[in-house]
Symmetry: C2
Subunit: 451 residues, 2 copies
């Protein structure tokens, strides 16, 4: 492991020749000082150290690595047991030097950094460097150079990253299988969530994001788990695991509460699955991810025309963003240390230099617009949703008059939300579906639900 | 429910006659802006509103309640579904007026408040009030008056609070029973944690604090779950649930991995249980909690003298803090909306006016030093630990020379940590053990492990 960490640090210093300081951040108080949210180290820090150290910083300069962290106090030892000393941590991450955190003051001149998420450490960053951090300083600064260098590295994954992500995926797959099995006896969304997250916790992992486990999949970021499960409902579960080193997985499956899709549910499911399959088939290095998104849009539009829900030429419908009435989000995003990898940097990682978000309804939520490259991991997650805020919107009703067959749509009222999401590695020659061990076909899903 | 909330607000305004503003706080970013820690509203806000509203504030003045919160944006509706409007929330909590958050500026003059935990909202509090908040302003200010008034209210629990805490306890008991059952097949601490927390999540609750589930109970705040379970190990599980309205439970049990305590484990377990039972028997209104702590210390000292581990007169041993070599923490704490209730206020809630923490080794970690009062809920959690940082400390070895029989202690090497923790309500006439449905006797624990 230490070899790969050293390679990452070496590559970074080849890309930028100013000193670099990366902070890990601190645990954040929940309702009182001693009751903390589980600590999550900054992803950039994790990438170069491979250790979730709290309240630490590293300096990368002229090929040397210096660690800044305080030794545990006697009280720490009483309450938290023997914890590693600064020296042993330094050895573990391959640091050349190691000092108490206060010493950092002597090394901050001309250093580039990236803002951490926790406000207390962010304030320390401002104080130590005595200047604003990107994006509050001008774009020409060293922070942006550092950000671009880190994006270059983190956009594609080395063996260590891939090994970790495979571990996170394996556990997420087990969680989904457990969720399907639990549906037979569960009465509420919360019970299925408990069964799924229990699997993740049992493997000493954490949820990579707040799980979505709902019979109201049309609420895209639903984090309510109170609904009862009724026959005829579909359950949408978007649940991913994160390894102790911070690497994420991100999987969505949609299954029927009864264990059997209704004919209408199967019709729509097949459209979403077809979009999923065609996107994955089309992926290879050099292909634009935006075109993969548009292929999903086209496939969904075609399918909905075939069912009679949409009327018109599928290509024209996509031009008009009519697909987005039912598929309003993007086809996916980068996956890595963050479930939306490097989204702390805004669109800098997701969007190729010179590109910006579209203001089109059908493209504006696309989180990634780059050509695919070997070593990238992206999600492919088409969906179909009947979102009241969209379908009842008078502007849309006017704009898409004559395009939606409302009577036909009414026949599909038992399909509120379906999404199928896999994690896909781009390889030199094509792709590998990392989540392939969890089936997507409706028959296989039904079998898992009944197992 | 609204009646009790109104009673709470009425009582507060009877205790303090300045305007009061309480902020709820905001969700905190984990690794990027859209990936948030699960939101926890400020306990003081929850106490008076009964709703976990994000980014809201209330003003209490002259018997009226004013709510400040922004209406959901169209994007909120797309991603989060239909969320209640300001007006409907106002109605739900019984507010007389309701305005957008920005309006708060017009109501901040002379208002008292309490600092929230999340740094972003705390900064807003400073900006809006344009002054430092307690404890950074002088002790004579209105903030301290407000704090003391709230402590007066929250120290004892009304029916609504009690109902919620009973719910949290019921789920925590189920989690512990599941943990005991899971031990039969589990290989690691994490697997037992997954089984226990899965129960809490399945009931749509959250963990009230970071669970301790460990075969190294001697590490008092152990949050590592990676150890394998070996025959001969004891598992210490300190796991509590929190209801959606924020009310906590806090339970610890210790059970043998094999389902059967060894004779040495049972000897020590019986001492801890005897301390637990004697403390609970001695509790009633008017009794000093500090004396309950000292009774636990005495019982543990007596038990260790009987086993030959300590030598001397038990009362003298407690005077010398020798009990604290094996029981270094306090007998418990207040329980309510926070698992250490109102610990965000430092020792103001835990310590009766005029009292401060002792610097004695055997008393300094006591979190509560007040006479018991009807309506209080406290934990009773004696323990026995072989903490290397204590037992290998040369100062202690010197100070307690001749008091510890090291050869005898060595016979108990299979007891690294035992704690038994219940939640106890003080009533008008005595007490009620709210967690009584989860047995404490070693025989009953063995039966549960084998069920």
């Amino acid at each position: 492991m230490i070899d790969i960490l050293q390679q990452r640090r070496q590559k970074l210093t080849e890309l930028i020749n100013t000193p670099i300081i990366l902070w890990s951040g601190k645990a954040i108080s929940r309702n009182f000082k001693a009751n903390l949210y589980p600590f999550r180290a900054s992803s950039h820090f994790l990438y170069f150290t491979g250790l979730a150290l709290e309240n630490a910083a590293i300096l990368l300069e002229n090929g040397t690595l210096t660690l800044f962290i305080d030794d545990p106090s006697p009280d720490d030892t009483l309450w938290h047991g023997e914890t590693p000393t600064r020296e042993s941590i330094a050895k573990q991450i391959g640091a050349d030097y190691a000092y108490p955190l206060a010493e950092l003051t002597n090394y901050t001149a001309h250093a580039a950094t990236i803002a951490v998420q926790d406000p207390t450490t962010y304030q320390q960053q401002l104080n130590r460097l005595n200047r604003p951090l990107y994006p509050n300083n001008t774009p020409e600064t060293i922070d942006l150079q550092l950000i671009n260098a880190i994006i270059t590295l983190r956009l594609t994954h080395d063996e260590l990253a891939l090994t970790e992500i495979r571990k996170a995926i394996k556990v997420a797959i087990e969680a989904h299988k457990m969720g399907m099995r639990a549906t037979k006896t569960a009465q509420t969304e919360a019970e299925i969530r408990g069964a799924m997250e229990g699997v993740i916790i049992a493997q000493n992992m954490t949820c990579a994001y707040n799980s979505i486990v709902t019979v109201h999949g049309e609420i895209l970021h639903n984090q309510d788990y109170t609904h009862n499960l009724n026959p005829g409902d579909l359950l949408l579960a978007d649940v991913g695991a994160e390894t102790p080193l911070g690497w994420a997985s991100d999987i969505t499956r949609t299954w029927p509460i009864t264990g059997q899709f209704s004919p209408t549910q199967r019709d729509i499911y097949d459209i979403v699955l077809s979009a999923h399959d065609r996107c994955i088939e089309a992926m290879k290095p050099g292909v634009e991810y935006r075109d993969i998104h548009l292929l999903a849009c086209l496939t969904i539009a075609e399918g909905l025309v075939n069912l009679g829900i949409l009327q018109g030429n599928p290509l024209d419908l996509v031009e008009k963003d009519a697909h987005a009435l039912f598929f309003p989000h993007g086809i996916g995003h980068l996956l890595g240390l963050d479930v939306h990898d490097m989204e702390d940097l805004g669109d800098l990682a997701g969007y190729e230099a010179g590109r910006t978000r579209s203001d089109r309804f059908g493209l504006g939520y696309l989180r990634l617009d780059r050509p695919l490259k070997s070593g990238m991991i992206v999600t492919i997650e088409p969906g179909f949703y009947q979102v009241p805020a969209i379908l009842n919107n008078p502007d849309f009703c006017h704009k898409y008059q004559g395009i939606i067959n409302w009577d036909k749509l009414a026949q599909f009222s038992d399909v509120r939300g379906i999404r199928i999401e896999d994690d896909v590695l781009v390889t030199d020659t094509g792709i590998e579906v990392l989540t392939a061990d969890l089936p997507t076909s409706p028959d296989a899903i039904e079998t898992l639900c009944q197992s």
